[in-house]
């Protein structure tokens, strides 16, 4: 066969494969700029009724931890909440909550109603710490190693599959290193 015959077919195949792969990508999954970077400096008061606030120093105590960005107005947060409760019940990993752009009273009521999986919470009323974390949608979950380095970021509600295939391995890797 001559190249003139083959070339359009090859071009078509390349285009089809490229567009096919493109279809499987999620445009909402934006690569985080903060992977392998230190968490921003912050210190936030706890959700009313809770004792422990959240600060960057709490993420540098040598223990791998999860930081979950949530809000009472966030519908998808409800979807992942049972999984977070389960994580907390099994004491798999310290889990901290960042209440993003939420009225503190609403956050407190939300936790009272659906259960409180968090060890520490931080009230980010204006969303400034969220922006420093590169948060652009809620929920988001960060895996932070014991030295305050962000090693993994999950965007959107955590499904059991995400937990098994991405988050737990990221925790294991962070603990190993």
């Amino acid at each position: 066969m001559r190249w003139r015959t083959v070339l359009p077919l090859v071009l078509f195949a390349v285009l089809a494969v490229a567009l096919g792969v493109g279809l499987t990508l999620n445009p909402r999954d934006i690569p985080s700029a903060l992977i392998d970077k230190q968490v921003p400096d912050f210190a936030l008061p706890p959700v009313p009724g809770k004792a422990l606030g959240l600060a960057s120093a709490d993420l540098k105590n040598g223990e791998v931890a999860l930081v979950n960005v949530f809000a009472s107005w966030c519908v998808a947060c409800r979807a992942e909440h049972p999984l977070l409760m389960e994580l907390a019940r099994r004491r798999t990993v310290p889990l901290h909550g960042l209440a993003y752009k939420d009225a503190p009273a609403d956050s407190a009521r939300w936790l009272a109603e659906w259960g409180d999986p968090y060890e520490r919470t931080g009230v980010d009323r204006v969303g400034r710490v969220g922006i420093d974390f590169g948060v652009y949608g809620v929920p988001e979950t960060f895996v932070v190693d014991g030295q305050g380095r962000i090693v993994f970021k999950h965007i959107g509600p955590i499904t059991p599959r995400d937990l098994e295939s991405k988050i737990l391995p990221a925790i294991a890797t962070a603990r190993g290193s």
Partner: protein, 214 residues
């Protein structure tokens, strides 16, 4: 936006056509209840159009209020112009294909405020951009920077133009020899036959192509 930060209400739209007052002279008088057909259909139309106007007016006013009412501009017009230019260059991460200048999303509002804050704090345009990029990555820039990862993206138009030019050139080369060969003129016998066909009223005999048929 007025300097005081208040939104001037838009004048209410005058309702064109039939108002709620006196009916137009051509209309039959509106009767009570299940009266005449024509009258009740007019009233139904009124009952639908009037709330529709109010609804549309609310939509327009709501958008105007939201677009104008949130952001207080910087007092220095030059700084405000820089801020707006930067807003137009930054992607809204929630709505993805809008700039934060065009977006009403909460995050876009926050980022607009941060850009203004950084400018007030004396940052250069590049420092402001770097501030946002360190948090959200290159993706936040509506115009992607030229680097190793985006080289293909930037080179693609040039490559495609070159490919197209190559295709056109090869097409021309191939067709140049063919196009200049004129068809052989008809022989005398063929010409005579053609004339016969053209001048007769009979439909021409079916032409059988060579090799066709049994």
């Amino acid at each position: 936006m007025t300097p005081g930060g208040r939104v001037t209400p838009l004048p209410t739209l005058p309702l064109k056509g039939r108002g709620e007052g006196t009916p137009a002279p051509t209309d039959p008088p509106l009767l009570e209840g299940r009266g005449r057909r024509r009258g009740s259909s007019t009233r139904i139309r009124l009952r639908i159009t009037a709330p529709l106007f109010v609804f549309v007016a609310f939509l327009l006013l709501g958008n105007a209020a939201r677009a104008l009412g949130i952001d207080p501009p910087l007092p220095d017009p030059a700084q405000e112009a820089r801020a707006v230019d930067l807003h137009k260059a930054l992607r809204c991460l929630v709505c993805q294909n809008q700039s934060i200048h065009d977006s009403n999303a909460g995050l876009a509002t926050d980022l607009r405020r941060i850009v203004r804050e950084r400018i007030t704090a004396g940052d250069s345009d590049k420092q402001v951009i770097d501030y946002v990029v360190t948090r959200y990555g290159d993706w936040v820039l509506l115009k992607p920077p030229l680097n190793v990862r985006t080289a293909v993206l930037w080179a693609a138009p040039v490559i495609l133009i070159l490919l197209g030019a190559g295709f056109v050139a090869s097409f021309h080369r191939r067709n140049r020899n063919v196009a200049l060969t004129l068809p052989t003129p008809l022989s005398d016998a063929e010409r005579a036959r053609l004339n016969a066909i053209m001048s007769s009223d009979e439909p021409p005999p079916a032409v059988r192509s060579k090799g066709a048929g049994s």
